[in-house]
């Protein structure tokens, strides 16, 4: 395919999303059709590009001789873009029902669509400057989505999100500038930095860039925007704060480690140990805090923090096995968590119950929703044969093989976290299905979610099982695409 097609999935949603503002607010049906059409077109174009990849890169702009705006679809980008392109239409479908009673819909759908374009831009960027630009664009497009409710609470959450993101961008910029100066702008597997003039500066700037991109990946200590942002409508929390935005952060970290800096230089340095320690602490911290949350969506948000750091931890192992494990968990966690959020959202939408103790007995009235949730919960815990087990297995074996004594600690933390995950994910499921006789929680008026919400949930649950059962095929596929 001609490389000119690369601009389609990026600019089509951005332009059409902006145009959707023109549709009058009361014409819901037309807008839904328009939005769905835009997203589907972009998704189809992404899949077409992935199956029929243009070999050349596409230079859109040349700022200076070595500063340019270049797009190219490589293996890692393919995985990330296909993942987003698959989940975006599902979330749109879910959002049509979920958002039907909300206000400010033109703004919501416009930015929801435009964020898709920015995410594709991150996936398809061929050098770190281009990625950085789209990365910032994604921040800007998602702020209005967090602010959607337009109350004080929402505004504060959005402000916090903005503070963290923009602050992170400043950190990341230091690293980006260093890479550009050292001719390490383009993404090449294996990286560029081999023997810099001043290794200490190079490592310090690596840690800066890691922290900067780590804001979106919610790495401790820059995580606290994520639970706050869970005030956003569920489709946003599900897609952006469990998949697109946060995974863009993890993806950027993978790009930084494996494609810009290169593992040879950082491996074994204090910087590796530092970032690995941060990731490990975040894993434990996220699970531990999730266990203490009573608020259903916040609990899932903390669980996301923990699981993102699984990916980051695998990435910081700086081996090929680590990269494979990171991508594996990136894919599987997206499927699992989006499903879990869909279930939580269905409960919120149908019953306006936000807290876990209020869920008692609700599973009898919403059986399908909670069966799907239970599948996500088991999968996230890492129970075979669900897909979460596969990625955890690969992360753990990768860290065993990493020849780094520190990484062994990570395995122990993974297991402790898995136990905590079981506790915080299974307890809502158990509460929902088995009401204690003496509990006064009244569930008589609860109704099951309708088909528009159930279909996306069901697809996610089925994917959890299918990818788990066909794990070896999925792993081979990822290996093939990444060419490792």
């Amino acid at each position: 395919m001609n490389s000119l097609f690369l601009i389609v999935p990026i600019f089509l949603p951005i332009i059409l999303g902006a145009l959707s503002f023109l549709i009058p607010a009361e014409k819901k049906k037309q807008r839904n059709t328009f939005v769905m059409f835009t997203i589907l077109c972009s998704s189809v174009s992404v899949w077409a590009l992935a199956l029929n990849t243009p070999q050349e890169s596409l230079t859109l702009l040349n700022f200076t001789e070595n500063l340019s705006f270049v797009l190219k679809l490589d293996g890692a980008g393919k995985l990330f873009s296909c993942l987003s392109a698959t989940l975006w239409p599902l979330t749109a479908l879910y959002a049509f029902e979920y958002m039907s009673h909300e206000k400010n819909l033109p703004m919501f759908y416009a930015f929801f669509t435009m964020a898709f374009g920015a995410t594709m831009g991150i996936a398809m960027a061929s050098n770190i400057l281009t990625m950085y630009l789209f990365y910032e664009l994604l921040t800007l497009f998602t702020i209005p989505l967090v602010m959607h409710g337009l109350t004080r609470k929402h505004n504060q959450a959005a402000r916090k999100y903005m503070n963290y993101s923009i602050g992170g961008a400043a950190f990341a910029f230091a690293g980006v500038a260093f890479l550009i100066v050292n001719d390490a702008n383009d993404f090449v597997f294996g990286g560029h930095i081999t023997s810099p003039e001043d290794p200490t500066i190079a490592l310090i700037l690596f840690v800066f860039a890691f922290l900067g991109f780590g804001v979106k990946a919610a790495v401790f200590p820059l995580h606290s925007w994520l639970p706050t942002a869970s005030v956003a409508p569920t489709p946003v929390t599900a897609l952006l704060h469990a998949v697109a935005v946060v995974k863009a952060g993890a993806f950027a970290i993978i790009r930084l480690i494996y494609y810009s800096y290169g593992t040879d230089f950082i491996k074994g340095s204090w910087a590796q140990n530092l970032v690995m320690a941060l990731a490990m602490f975040t894993i434990f911290y996220g699970s531990m805090t999730a266990l203490r949350q009573k608020h259903f969506k916040r609990r899932l948000a903390f669980s996301t923090i923990s699981n993102l750091s699984y990916i980051v931890f695998a990435a910081t192992l700086m081996t090929e096995a680590g990269l494979l494990a990171a991508f594996c968990h990136l894919l599987f966690h997206s499927i699992i968590k989006i499903g879990a959020f869909f279930s939580a959202g269905a409960v919120l939408h149908k019953t306006e119950r936000e807290y876990v103790p209020e869920l008692e007995g609700i599973g009898r009235k919403m059986p399908l929703t909670f069966i799907f949730f239970t599948i996500s919960a088991l999968s996230l815990t890492g129970i075979p044969p669900f897909c979460g087990f596969v990625s955890k297995w690969y992360i753990a074996t990768a860290s065993m093989e990493a020849q780094n004594p520190f990484a062994i600690v990570g395995v122990v933390i993974l297991l402790i976290s898995a136990f905590l995950t079981a506790m915080y994910m299974l307890s809502p499921a158990i509460k929902a299905f088995f009401k204690r006789r003496d509990n006064a929680n009244d569930v008589s008026d609860v109704k099951e979610a309708n088909a528009l919400m159930q279909v996306p949930m069901g697809i996610c649950a089925v994917l959890c099982i299918v990818t788990g059962l066909m794990a070896s095929n999925v792993i081979e596929l990822i290996k093939g695409v990444l060419a490792i």
């Binding site: 200590p221 606290s224 531990m288 203490r292 890492g382 044969p385 074996t397 506790m423 003496d438």
Partner: protein, 655 residues
């Protein structure tokens, strides 16, 4: 053969879905369930006829022959028997039966998968499925007790599963294979290391949790009694054996003939054995006694396993004894729990005081219960006697070989626990079948033919093997390869005086305990009392407080870290950007007091000046804040400073 193995394992899974779809047509569904268990049983017998080999399906590996086939047959048989009793058991309380049967069959498939697995990965996958689906049995009744027990069960199952997985990671990292048959040679090749012990003890933790080994036994006495009787029979009889299976793999293939492993296992096993028996003596609840008895019997089995390791090349007695013990315990617990189910059917209670004399005039239950009880107590003529004798002889043998006094003590504890077994079984039997009925005892109803068949076919094997002893070798010899066990060097005279002596001592202890302790201390005014009830609980007094403390401590740490960044941002905002503060109460007070003084001086009664002062002070502080919090103010101040410097420079220049 591959296809047959697949059918054997996956028939229950498919049947589970069919049974769920047939939920409304109860009779048809019951037939499907019984048929499915029967097909699996037939297939497991069929595949056992072929020579030992490994079959692969997708990424799953299955082993045919040896221990695997034998235990698959036993498991399938037990499910078949439990399925036969289920229709009558659930006739009156058909609460969520579709769910029960669905998970009944799924667990069956998973358990067959565990026993037939040829590599530990396959074992683990089915093991986890089994753990989670059997949770549904425990909470079947959804009473408070059941939910509570379910919570403990799930927590231990998840914890055990995770730690076992950790063990597998480490093991895989050392050996590069998880095929059970290749493990030993792989470990010979790389040699023993600390990591290997880590792997082995992680596996011991995981599988020991399922087996009900001390100190992870806490779920067992809670979960087994609350499950429906057919499910309790399977939980006690088969599911605990999946844990023992894992421990056998470690014993035979990972740490073969290793002393550290042997002694650790022996210590834990002995504690489990004595502890279970002691709680069982105190218990007043039929099923709880049986559950605690399972705990104790697992201890007996694990003592046998540890003897296999410690005796090394001389392990013929220990290995054959252990396998026979496992089989005996599975079948006996099937019989006893099915009897308990049959009793519960009529009496709707499990309290011994309300069951007094319930079993008089019920010959089928009485005889099958008696057979189970005798075998469990180790009375000659029943399988239990043979297995107990073999394991006992193995301990005696090791005591001779090692000259360690502690082994002799363990031998006595073994006999003592055997005595307690006899005592609590006697207590149950006397209470239910011999004592005179009281007003509280219900009449009960007749067993359905299906249930009677279930009881009889379960019980019939016990005396047959017990009397026709040559069968023992036929059953246990094929299983030996799993633990590198040896054949008997010479014929065993089961009924010689030395062998009978052990059991006689045991029985004597049992009768003494019954007569002097149970009748004197535990029976007051003709009712059974339990002075220990709920007073000592490892779970409530150690684990739960420990978990609470740990979560609290880590929670506080995490909480402290949670807002670290937010706090820094807050601090920066307050110091650098200097957010506008609210006008404080203090300032207002001082201004008012000052104005008041002026009012007093002027003899003004209207507090004119006081109010004026407050207004002025408010205006001043607001203005200063507005100015000082501004960025331009900072610039202005800088300019001011620069100007002063400039003036200073000019002056110094001029002068």
């Amino acid at each position: 053969m591959t296809a047959l193995t697949m059918y054997c394992v996956f028939t229950p899974f498919v049947a589970a879905i069919i049974s769920a779809l047939l939920g409304k047509y109860e009779k048809l569904r019951n037939a499907v369930v019984i048929l499915a268990t029967f097909i699996s049983l037939a297939l497991s017998v069929l595949i056992a006829q072929s020579p030992a080999r490994i079959v692969c399906f997708a990424s799953l590996n299955f082993q045919i022959g040896g221990f695997n086939s034998t235990y698959a047959i036993i498991a399938a048989f037990m499910w078949f028997a439990a399925a036969l009793l289920s229709p009558q058991y659930f006739k009156d309380h058909n609460h969520k039966l579709s769910r029960y049967y669905f998970f009944f069959l799924v667990t069956m498939g998973a358990t067959l998968g565990v026993f037939l697995s040829a590599d530990l990965m396959t074992t683990f996958i089915f093991f986890e499925i089994m753990s989670f689906t059997s949770y549904m049995w425990v909470i079947q009744d959804e009473t408070k007790d059941a939910m509570d027990a379910g919570k403990t069960y799930l927590a231990i199952a998840v914890l055990g599963g995770m730690v076992a997985l950790m063990g597998l990671f480490v093991l895989y990292n050392i050996t590069g294979t998880l095929m059970i048959a290749d493990l030993y040679s792989a470990i010979q090749y790389v040699g023993k290391s600390t990591e290997l012990y880590v792997a082995a003890f992680c596996l011991l933790f995981g599988f020991g949790a399922k087996a009900g080994m001390f100190p992870l036994h806490i779920w067992l006495p809670k979960a087994h009694p609350v499950a429906p009787a057919p499910a309790s029979a399977l939980l006690s009889g088969v599911l605990t054996k999946t844990g023992v299976f894992g421990i056998l793999v470690v014993t035979g293939q990972i740490l073969r003939d290793d002393e550290i492993w042997g002694y650790t296992l022996l210590a834990l096993a002995t504690i489990t054995m004595v502890l279970g028996a002691v709680i069982a003596v105190f218990s007043n609840n039929l099923k709880r006694t049986l559950a605690c008895s399972s705990l104790s019997q697992i201890g007996f089995i694990l003592v046998g396993v540890s003897m296999i390791t410690l005796l090394g090349e001389e392990n013929a007695l220990a290995a054959n004894g252990t396998f026979l013990y496992m089989i005996n315990h599975s079948i006996v617990k099937l019989v006893l729990f099915l009897c308990a189910g049959a009793i519960y059917l009529g009496a709707h209670t499990l309290d011994l005081n309300k069951l007094k004399g319930y079993g008089r005039n019920k010959p089928v239950i009485m005889i099958t219960f008696l057979i189970g009880a005798c075998s469990l107590a180790g009375i000659p003529g029943f399988t239990g006697y043979l297995s107990k004798t073999l394991v006992h002889e193995a301990i005696v043998e090791y005591a001779h070989l090692s000259h360690l006094p502690i082994i002799t003590i363990i031998e006595w504890l073994f006999l003592f626990s055997g005595g307690l077994t006899a005592a609590y079984m006697l207590k149950l039997f006397v209470a239910i079948f011999i004592e005179k009925p009281t007003e509280e005892t219900e009449k009960g109803k007749k067993l359905s033919p299906l249930s009677a068949i279930a009881l009889i076919i379960s019980a019939v094997a016990i005396p047959v093997i017990g009397i026709y002893t040559p069968l023992v070798e036929k059953i246990t010899y094929p299983m030996l390869s799993l633990v590198n066990g040896h054949h008997f060097h010479h014929e065993i005279h089961y009924f010689s005086f030395t062998n009978l002596k052990g059991v006689l001592i045991s029985l004597a202890i049992g009768i003494l305990v019954y007569a002097l302790f149970i009748r004197k201390v535990l029976v007051k005014n003709k009712t059974y009392v339990n002075p220990m009830d709920g007073k000592i609980s490892l779970e409530n007094q150690v684990y739960i407080p420990l978990i609470k403390i740990l979560t609290a401590v880590f929670g506080v740490i995490c909480r402290a870290f949670a807002d670290l960044t937010d706090f820094l941002i807050f601090l920066t905002r307050k110091s650098v950007l200097s957010d506008a503060k609210e006008h404080t109460e203090h300032q207002r007070k001082y201004a008012y007091a000052l104005g008041d003084v002026v009012d007093h001086v002027k003899h003004d009664k209207t507090h004119k000046n006081a109010n004026l002062f407050v207004r002025v002070s408010e205006t001043i502080s607001k203005t200063t804040q507005r100015i000082s919090s501004n960025f331009s103010f900072a610039l202005f101040m800088t300019c001011f400073g620069v100007c002063i410097i400039l003036v200073f420079l000019i002056i110094s220049f001029v002068s």
